[in-house]
């Protein structure tokens, strides 16, 4: 047994006959916030449900705090879950929603009042205790769901796309609040999301998943700057991703010779690292969109379309213009696999 706080060992998950997650291995330290990041259908929610015990694994083991919980019932695991839909109990007040878990544990009345009040205060809803859930806004409901989960002091808290139903401003606010709460309480958290900016802002480590497998586990900075695979690169915003063959970039249209190319599976560039107006390659502008801060271009090259982004004050290029461009090797992410 490993000495990690939470350990997933060769976890294989599926519904019926089809496999959704295959032989997943993941270790979490105590107090760590790990984001499971990936597009829908990559198995991140399935993995989270298996950790919570809401679905049985086909094979593999889950240990939490030194105990094998693979066969432990979900209500005996000490794991909390904040649902994407909040899942508040519609027939109970905010106070009773938060008190639900404590009442089941048989905690004394005065203690319940004290802890629920404290939990509601910590999410800024102290004055909403007697409201019905449906009288709250989405952001407030989300906070109640959070308070309800942390008041029982779970060993591990799972968050399933907790901010996806909120508008942009609230999302930012809740994101920093989550971060503050996590640091204050020191709860180990797994945060499931398809939003890379949430994962980058919150997580200590990010697990990028694709089709039921882990693509890369790394710190936010390393994921952002040094993706190891074409999939991670594209997911994280390296929109110009090419395979390398004999020192040339291979794209959908053809290939583009690249001087000084390293020996790797592929290279990837963010649009803003593509240099326009000078360089070794030639292309034609086939798309130009003014985005306010920046201008986004689509350049037709020998390898295929290349996306470039320049500051709005840089020299503009017109549609149909032939121009030189450069893909600086030092700005590229070096990919070791597709």
């Amino acid at each position: 047994m490993s000495d990690a706080f939470l350990s997933l060992q060769d976890l294989t998950l599926g519904y019926g006959g089809s496999v959704a997650v295959e032989a997943l291995n993941l270790d979490l330290d105590r107090g760590e916030l790990v984001a499971l990041l990936g597009p829908s259908g990559c198995g991140k929610t399935t993995t989270m449900r298996a950790i919570a015990g809401l679905m049985k694994p086909m094979s593999g083991r889950i240990t939490l705090d030194g105990r094998d919980i693979t066969r432990v019932a979900p209500n005996k695991r000490g794991i909390g879950l904040v649902f994407q839909s909040y899942a508040l109990f519609p027939h109970l007040t905010v106070f009773e929603n938060v008190a639900f878990g404590l009442r089941l544990q048989g905690v004394a009345k005065a203690e319940i009042t004290r802890r629920v009040t404290a939990a509601l205060a910590s999410v800024g809803l102290a004055s909403f205790a007697e409201r019905q859930p449906k009288a709250l806004s989405g952001g407030q409901q989300q906070r109640v769901a959070l308070a309800r989960s942390i008041v029982v002091e779970p060993k591990l808290l799972l968050l399933d796309e907790p901010l996806s139903n909120l508008d942009a401003r609230l999302r930012l606010e809740m994101r920093s609040e989550l971060s503050r709460l996590q640091k204050e309480l020191g709860i180990t958290m797994i945060y499931v999301t398809h939003d890379q900016s949430e994962a980058l802002a919150l997580a200590d480590r990010i697990v990028v998943m694709r089709q039921g497998r882990i693509e890369q586990i790394d710190t936010p900075a390393n994921i952002y700057e040094r993706p190891v695979s074409g999939f991670v690169a594209e997911f994280i915003g390296f929109e110009n991703t090419f395979a390398l063959k004999q020192g040339a970039l291979v794209g959908p249209k053809g290939s583009l010779a690249l001087a000084g190319a390293p020996g790797a599976h592929g290279l990837a560039w963010r649009p803003r690292t593509v240099v326009l107006g000078q360089g070794a390659h030639e292309g034609r502008v086939i798309g130009a969109s003014y985005l306010g801060e920046t201008v986004e271009y689509l350049i037709d090259s020998a390898a295929g379309p290349i996306k470039a982004e320049t500051p709005a004050h840089a020299p503009r290029h017109a549609m149909g213009e032939n121009l030189r461009f450069d893909l600086p090797v030092e700005a590229a992410a070096v990919l070791s696999r597709a």
């Binding site: 005996k76 879950l81 508040l88 109990f89 989960s149």
Partner: protein, 257 residues
Amino acid sequence: MRLAGQTILFLVLAFLIGPFILICVAGLSGGETLAFPPEGLSLRWVARVFEVESFRATFAVSITLGIGATLLALLIGVPAAYGLERYNPPGANVIRNVLSSPIIVPGIIVGLALLRHLVIPLGVGILPALFIGHTALLIPYAVRIVSGSLVNLRVDIEEAAVLLGASRLQSFTKVVLPNIRNGIMAAFIIGFITSFNQVPVSLFLTGPGVSTLPIDMMAYMEFNYDPSIAALSGLLALMSLVIVLVAEKLLGLSRYV
């Protein structure tokens, strides 16, 4: 065009409500026979209703039967609806179709079948037979109405309860039941009224000494053609009306039916 629409509306309403009004007025007659228009107005036939011994006895049977059979139907129907909705067992659709058959199959066939193949061969008593027959008849209503309110209840609130430490049973009693309470109440009221007004099934299953109120009323009419039957009908219609109106006010009954 507008006038034609209003005329049709009026005719439909007259057709639906007319008989009810005719019966009520006929029940207030001062004459000796059931007739419309009544020969003078009086409350003597309304008072007479409460004097007929068999009406009182069968009213008690009908009430007991209505409440008992509905409760039993709910006791079976609520878990059945929950199981069908949440676990979607193999053959769930077949079960749903079978469950709706007592609504589709004429009651007279159900009654005959119960009599011929259950009551006679097994020698079941009249009251238990009525009880079984009515329960069987009401289970589909219970399952359908409760299913309706379960569909609107998200599964994840049960999962949330479980992850907060509730057992499956606790999540059912503390989270599911309170949220489908109105559906269950609606099913109870509809079940009770259905049982209380039930004629065809009861017709086959009642026997000497034990009868339900509607059956007894039919028997009474064969020998006494006086306005007390109209008076009683009016009273029963009023009772149903009051129950439905109160239920609508309290639960929004019409959402479930």
